[in-house]
Subunit: 393 residues, 2 copies
């Protein structure tokens, strides 16, 4: 097969709110080759990503992403690896390219899986996909009492794990944070897996974060996520050395293999969180999963958009039985819910399973998505470089 078309679709809720909800828009990717189509999703700003797909060349290492994809051979997993390497070389000086490649890479795996009638995880070399334990991701309440109620609610909804993040953490006293952590534990119950997300609140201040370690240990938090900005490897490493049973988690901002590798090698983290929609796709995410395993670090997906993105983000570690926890978006906007016909739901044990269907096992609901489709036109010196294509299956 030869790659005949790469189409990007910018989808958006009618109104975008100034809140930390990444499911308000989406950049859907469709790739066509040999009579098959594959679908992916960039976890990226849509307009700059579209521009990076179609822009004029600046020089030999700053080419539009499509220049390294269109017309390429696609017969095997090796071709997908090769295409990713081409993009990274030919678009080395185009910063947005990693995000743009991510959705294309997913679509290539999806297409190959559909053609070979295999789920993607099997093409990645995993004989089977183990169930994952999803955590409900929530904000801390404004008060410990609210946090306690949220924990209880998560249990009632069937979650055996919950992540509490942001909110007042780090902004008040150590005792304030302690009260919040203990309330989260109380709400979730003694046997629940409790995860805490500090939302980079301590920047690079190791001492401020370390003051919270006794409470994090007392509430038996499994991990403390992003205490610091993601490049602050040294701060991570120093905190990790003092944290005892509480492991550090981070890495969601990684947009290439090496950034994740640096966190694994130099930040002392116990959990590496990878968004397949940012790091260069399933291919690079799988490379990180392999590396993390060698280094004794647990892999976790980072996902806050559609179930197409969720399926893609779970494939890279589907076969790693011990890397059990997964992020599962719980409060999606209608766009992200309607993006796929199929969904990945909690079973009665509070677990989720990857579809056994070919590819990513997800079909975009192109009819439902028409109302979210954003009309984009980009002209350069009078030439139309991009116009939103018809969204069909």
């Amino acid at each position: 097969m030869q790659i005949e078309a790469v189409d990007f679709f910018y989808l958006s809720m009618p109104q975008i709110l100034d809140i930390g909800d990444g499911s308000q828009d989406a950049l859907l990717v469709r790739v066509a080759a040999g009579g098959y189509v594959g679908w992916g999703e960039c976890e990226a700003a849509p307009l700059p990503s579209i521009a990076s797909l179609v822009c004029p060349m600046s020089h030999s290492a700053c080419k539009p992403v499509q220049a390294s994809v269109l017309g390429q051979r696609l017969e095997s997993a090796d071709d997908i690896v090769r295409i990713g390497n081409l993009v990274r070389a030919n678009s080395m000086d185009l910063l947005q390219a990693d995000h743009t490649l991510s959705g294309i890479d997913m679509a290539l795996w999806d297409l190959l899986g559909r053609r070979l009638q295999e789920p993607v995880y099997r093409l990645l070399g995993y004989p089977r996909a183990y169930p994952k334990l999803p955590y409900a991701s929530m904000l801390f309440g404004d008060t410990p009492q609210e946090t306690l109620e949220k924990g209880k609610k998560a249990r009632q909804l069937g979650y055996r794990a919950a992540k509490f993040g942001w909110g007042p953490i780090g902004l008040g006293t150590v005792q304030d944070d302690t009260d919040q952590f203990m309330a989260a534990r109380e709400g979730l119950g003694e046997d629940g897996i409790l995860l805490i997300d500090a939302g980079t609140v301590w920047k690079e201040d190791v001492d401020a974060a370390a003051l919270r370690l006794p409470a994090l240990q007392a509430c038996q938090a499994t991990w403390l996520e992003e205490p610091f900005v993601s490049g602050a490897l040294d701060a991570y490493r120093r905190l990790a050395a003092q944290a005892g049973p509480v492991k550090l988690a981070g890495g969601e901002g990684s947009h290439n293999f090496h950034m994740a590798q640096h966190m694994i090698d130099h930040a002392g983290i116990g959990y590496i969180q990878i968004d397949a929609g940012r790091i260069g796709g399933i291919t690079v995410a799988k490379q990180v999963a392999d590396y993390a395993r060698q280094r004794g670090v647990t892999y976790v997906n980072h996902t806050f958009t559609s179930h197409l993105a969720l399926s893609a983000s779970l494939q890279p570690y589907a076969g790693l039985e011990q890397d059990l926890i997964c992020e599962y978006p719980v409060e999606l906007k209608s766009l992200a819910v309607e993006l796929t016909r199929e969904h990945i739901s909690l079973d009665e044990d509070g677990l989720i399973r990857l579809p056994e269907r070919p590819g990513l096992g997800m079909t975009p609901n192109t009819e439902a998505l028409q109302k979210y489709l954003v009309d984009v036109e980009i002209r350069v010196n009078g030439r139309l470089l991009y116009t939103t294509p018809p969204l069909t299956g």
Copy 2:
């Protein structure tokens, strides 16, 4: 003052060749505040950068870059730092933003300098700007004889330093590379500063690179640049440990402070090469210069476009007398030459000096640039988000 306008101008040669020459197009930035204008240049793909300036918001941490710049107060250097931090927070998930910010940050420094009637380096805290020793950057010849001739020519042109890069290095035998290195030294003369750029040819293969160390030592190379891909910190560190007097150089791809910090901390490099047009501007580049100095690493600019970009890239280490070497683009396309009315030229000692004029000391030649101006139009749902503004001073 309040920032009233941020305008981007995409400039291009009539034809872009598929060669490693980054001076074939440019993204010029103009900022207006309080009756002053300032100019900067992003070392970036123009169209995706323009899109990242004006795109619709995706969520609270994925906003267009202009949202954190327009309307902001600009009275002092602290305001420029604050605006950069705002962009990094509000556009955290917009990958292209660091490249886009870079040109804006330069323009803000230029504007502030014009208003305060001070060159930028003085606003950065340097009492004076020391002369720099520019190196002529060249490709290796196809044969050692060609390389020898190129070295001779550089000396004739007045350069006391030269960098030879890419070409056949790493593609043939160790003896082939040895012959090239020795020819470069012979051409340049015994007292010339010889720099070697491997163009990442050994990817992560430390052994392959190490086989070239005896020849690099024999030809007295001051540095070996980018033997490996830029994220391969571990490979860098292992090679550096064996390299003796030959120092490693790298870092040009860094698009934030932490990436440069990781190279300084974990790659064992002797020289950190920073492109102020990529790393987030003069502000972040100065932060790296300060950090490098603490750690005993020498700072060098990375510049291959106009003399506006050159002036901006020299300011961050203008006052560091011992960090003497600088990159000086020698084979610019006419667009990059005509971009500024003033130029920074070699004096009779083979040194260059920063202008003592206010700001960056460079005036874009808006008349000459009209012929290179690219007409761009971006429409989203019928709304015109960007159209090329008139290019005037």
